[in-house]
Symmetry: C2
């Protein structure tokens, strides 16, 4: 046995021991899933991951993504060995306030983690995003992604497999910890590594199979992965709970800590406690970035009707031309969302993700972890495909800039499969999210510009049809603000709209005026945060709000308005919500707004009815 | 050219002509995507799809799923040729009130469509669900699924590819209409059919490549698919807009109708208008089902604390044992959601979907289309993975019975990646959905029992921890109802909770009582529909509602309460919402509820604060 062999095996044993110690102290966690990858992680951290533990955000660092996030104890044990933190910190696993959460999350005190994992099948796409950021910046670092075999059932993994090969991200290495056992029993394919190898090959990867507890074979596989011109998929046959007789390859131990009375026996079988330190290889030097030449694209200005999706695309092209950090992702609908304009301006920072929304958002999460301002766009309806990735974005503290076009029944003839009518509910419910809904070209430009500087998840809801210009090019649209488009000191009712329903509200105001009813009209372009003070004043002044949205009646603008009003104190007055309550069909936009009861006539009727006039 | 050849080619030409005619009349739609599959559909409908057009729900019918739903005109043209409806109906495509929507939807007047498509990548899983239903019922019918090449980028397709092979659904044939062009340009793999063939083989399928406009080759491929013991994947090389010189294999024609001034030229190139009828082969005879022997599992009864997820599993096992139509799907967490108990009772109606939630819900959609009462369960957090499939379930008018376990921060140490805290928002926003949230064993059983008879999408939110028993085994829990657990004629405040927060509310009531404050407590176990009348009375009686939920503050119980109150007329009083407002970490359930400000102490403090006491 060579020196390296012994060194790696000792480090692996320590990672297993520490995974057991920390989870037993916590009383819960996944030691056996950590032990199956202990040798894979040990060799990686000891001799292949070029990484400065003291400067985890250094641009030249290789990156490690633990896609099988439940094996967090193993990652933390490796980070302890590498000097990221001490044993006391390790033993705080899963305690309140500890940065060592049950699944890895990139909170401030855990800077060695770039993206949150724990919802399976998401790590490879995030890793691809990091790898693409390295390529865009001409940084020859690498990304290593540790996958579990259970998560290979997730389609998101195959989206990422395809995209990694398609985009030539040969700086990605995926390691499959094939330990044969899932949460409740055997996986579909057990130790049939040929299945995974054949699929990886068919998806355009280099693929090798190894014994995942043979450190020399692991070392050779990592060296081979770096040398290959393709991304490499390493199928490593392992044992869950490896090295402890009563855990090894046994069912019934997923997500269970070793009981205290068996702790000594388990550690004893692994050769006892150790205090090994490892120093990962030094990261590569990074050259200063090349000078950046802004494009000549100017901030768009409109004086004629235009679709907000087009204004978004125009604005994004302008931003991409002026900010070298902007990256644009398309879900193969760039001629509908107009992200194709950014492609024309900055093709090296435009990534075509094809129809794979989960991968699109996963890559976006990886890109932003590397400092990119990543925008992604698709039909709002199809962003639901990435709902889990977007949700995990909140745990990753990711800045995800998303545009959903073709909102509402107003798309018309294509029908309900293409209509985003639950999108506001989805984005509003996310921690720290910002939800924006412009009604015209200038507001769409201003809000897209705002998104470039927002933290967290921001969502711009865009409309398919052209809408008239309401605002000037210099008008300000602060997040959390609103615009009152019509107001007097004797308003009978307040109409609250956003996007297309703002225009319907304005038309309703004219109808009501003909009946002698004076309506205030508020543009709630910022659905979250929402302008509670203005809404409260309107309720106090008029006693009646009619809130209208081209969205399901639940979870969207109407609920946001009610929530805002409730937050300002005792409620007095009436709030009448209009929104989509049935499943739409195909028809013209005008017909569908009438059908849904969200057009000008319906708004006016609701106001008249509430006022008894 | 044989008789069949000419007959098939003529029918294909008619399908192309009718696709063009209908879309030009509509002014929008996807003729070229219909034309690429015209020969594939013609041969299928003429001689392979064993289907009684007059009895589309007959159990012995083969089924056809148009996964590439935008090619709806081609499907409708084939249905017209088969006698489902007349040319006048065909020409109503995309008009208001027409059952011929822009993408297929199984509304009452379109009984030849089983599941809605149009969000890409969803048809194969639905087809698998139908095929499994046939197998469960020992019906030797087949499912034919038409896929587009763009949608092969969706991971959901690969989940379904894997599951189809794994479950031995050799009664599934997938046809890939590889027309090389997506929405905005070429697909990733163009006409490199080897890519798709190799992947299908690696995923356990039989695979063949053909010229998709060669009707004899198509006929042979279909015959071969039926004969093979594996599911068969037919890679058909086609041309978008085939048969019309100015459309054929041309970019820029996706989703565009042929302009009126080019209509005659296009139809002329296809040999002019035709009026061919085809009669699909007769379906197989179906034997009467074998007698059913109910299991001896009884309706569960509890008198000790139990987790609602366990009560759900117990109830589901009881239902599976007593109702032969119940089918249970697990996302490889059956030992957490306790669906494993149904597996023990009815293993032939339990389908292990592994960690592939999109496929799970897609299969569920297919199963219910065949009359099964399909329940599916996973962690609530991971049901977000299938958000688009669930959304499409509303368009499919599907009865999807879903249980999401491990709701809220109350799961504790596993941390935020595993916590469902946006699930109520997601499910509430869906058309016609029912959202249920039991607080104890008896209510969980009663509500699970209710789900078996509900239409549309129903969601049961389940808790990880055991909770005390509050109700009797015979208590009734109507959908849309609530339970008032404590009430007097001098209540100072009303506490509204559900699930775990109901128990916190009851504890808060005791705390407040010690301060001389009398609190009413309402269990909103039915979050949607919600008991507006009881909530209104409570607001009128007490003037203050404190609504508390283990969920994000947006879109859940609090918003549902506000919406209900607003719907009952003018608002007078205060509603104070408590919910999760930041991203949680790992800690004990008790610590996390305190952190989130949703525990008894926080509820009592909010009530005292609002009352100024």
């Amino acid at each position: 046995m060579g020196d390296n062999t012994q060194r790696w095996n000792e480090l692996a044993a320590q990672i297993s021991v520490d995974s057991i110690r920390a989870t037993t102290a916590a009383g819960s966690g996944h030691p056996t899933s950590s032990m199956s990858m202990a040798h894979l992680v040990a060799v990686l951290f000891a001799d292949h991951l070029r990484f400065d533990v003291k400067d985890p955000h250094y641009r030249g660092n290789d990156r490690f993504v633990l896609s099988k996030g439940h094996a967090a104890p193993g990652l933390y044990a490796a980070l302890k060995a590498a000097g990221a933190f001490d044993d006391e910190m390790l033993m705080s696993l899963r305690r309140e306030g500890s940065p060592l959460q049950g699944h890895p999350a990139p909170i401030k005190e855990m800077p060695w983690v770039d993206v949150a994992t724990g919802s399976l099948g998401q790590g490879l796409a995030a890793g691809l995003g990091m790898a693409l950021a390295m390529q865009m910046d001409h940084v020859e670092a690498r990304v290593w992604v540790m996958l579990g075999d259970s998560e290979m059932a997730e389609g998101s993994v195959w989206e990422a497999m395809e995209a990694t090969a398609f985009h030539g991200a040969n700086n990605v290495t995926a390691i499959l910890d094939m330990n044969r056992l899932g949460q409740r029993g055997p996986t579909m394919h057990g130790w049939h590594g040929d299945v995974f190898r054949d699929r990886a090959l068919a998806f355009g990867w280099n693929a090798v199979q190894i014994d995942g507890h043979d450190v020399d074979a692991i070392d050779r596989a990592y060296t081979g992965a770096v040398a290959d011109e393709r991304p490499t998929f390493i199928v490593a046959r392992t044992q869950k709970g490896h090295g402890v007789s009563f855990l090894q390859d046994k069912e019934g131990w997923h997500g269970k800590a070793v009981p205290a009375d068996k702790l000594d026996a388990a550690i004893g079988e692994l050769g006892g406690d150790r205090h090994i330190r490892c120093t990962p290889p030094a990261p590569i030097d990074v050259a200063d970035p090349a000078p950046f030449t802004p494009s000549s694209v100017e901030r768009p200005v409109y004086d004629k009707p235009i679709a907000t999706r087009k204004a978004f695309g125009d604005a994004l092209a302008w931003l991409a031309g002026t900010d070298r950090d902007v990256v644009v992702l398309d879900g193969e609908v760039g001629n509908s969302t107009y992200t194709e304009e950014a492609d024309a301006v900055a093709p090296d920072r435009f990534v075509q993700m094809y129809i794979a929304e989960q991968c699109m958002v996963g890559v976006q999460t990886g890109l932003q972890a590397m400092g990119k301002k990543a925008f992604a766009a698709s039909f709002g309806a199809f962003l639901t495909r990435a709902a889990d990735q977007i949700r995990m974005g909140t745990v990753s503290r990711a800045d995800l800039r998303l545009c959903g076009s073709h909102a509402g029944v107003s798309i018309g003839e294509d029908g309900p499969s293409q209509m985003a009518i639950e999108d506001l509910a989805m984005f509003r419910a996310l921690a720290g999210s910002t939800v924006l809904y412009p009604s015209d070209g200038p507001s769409a430009v201003a809000l897209t510009e705002r998104m470039a500087t927002l933290e967290g998840i921001s969502y711009l809801r865009a409309t398919r049809e052209a809408t008239p210009v309401l605002y000037g090019a210099d008008d300000d649209f602060p997040v959390g603000g609103s615009k009152t488009l019509a107001s007097s000191d004797h308003d009978d009712v307040t109409l609250v709209g956003a996007g297309v329903t703002l225009h319907e509200s304005l038309a309703a105001r004219d109808m009501l005026a003909a009946d002698g009813i004076t309506a205030r009209v508020i543009d709630c372009y910022s659905v979250k945060p929402i302008d509670a003070a203005t809404l409260r004043s309107a309720l106090d002044d008029t006693g009646l709000l009619v809130v209208v949205e081209d969205h399901r009646i639940e979870g969207g603008l109407g609920d946001a308005v009610l929530d805002a009003l409730a937050s300002t104190g005792a409620l007095t007055g009436r709030v009448h919500k209009l929104g989509v309550t049935e499943v739409p069909g195909s028809a013209t936009p005008t017909e569908l707004r009438a059908w849904a009861g969200i057009d000008a006539a319906a708004i006016a009727a609701a106001a008249r009815d509430a006022l008894g006039r």
